[in-house]
Subunit: 110 residues, 2 copies
């Protein structure tokens, strides 16, 4: 059984940032930025994993998992991430919703 | 600006269930079940909204939003939902991870 795509997270509690977005039609620079942000996030203290899906309609959800709210705040303030955030608001995202959550309980299947 | 696909949630705190899954190759019955579960979830007390994305690789994320942990527990125990859960484990999902979370903070853009 393949488990590719799934984050390997510890037992709760931990934190998750749910980033829901609709892309613009602008492709230029997007894939490179997305790959780089995933790589960079993976290097941050307190990073636990990332899951992402986007349908052909341009609507996508990316969830990143973190040890603490402090780790999330530090990643949010990361200089290179800041540059990507500004470009994202300007070019790549028509709209997004970000929600910072605390994971209380988790289970898996089948 | 289109906001289709996004849940219209209130100010935090509220709750989110992150359901990450990889589909099997079995299509039979899946779309009908998914549509019915979305319809049924929308009729439950405490339901706030739903967001969903699945890529062409079969990996998908669905997030449902709820007023309380009690509302989530009631939906989980709903008889018709239970039947779908059993079928999902047997036929439609190769693997899934479900995480029950409390939304602490939210923001949007651009």
């Amino acid at each position: 059984m393949s488990q590719s795509g799934f984050a390997r997270t510890p037992a709760p509690p931990y934190y998750a940032v749910i980033f829901s977005s609709r892309r613009t039609a602008i492709e230029e620079g997007y894939a490179g930025m997305a790959d780089r942000m995933e790589e960079l996030a993976g290097q941050q203290p307190g990073f636990l994993g990332l899951e992402s899906a986007r349908g052909s309609d341009g609507f996508g959800i990316t969830v990143s998992y973190w040890e603490s709210l402090e780790a999330i705040a530090a990643w949010h303030a990361h200089a290179e991430h800041r540059v990507a955030q500004v470009a994202g608001r300007k070019k790549w995202y028509e709209h997004f919703e970000a929600r910072v959550t605390r994971v209380e309980r988790a289970y898996s299947g089948p």
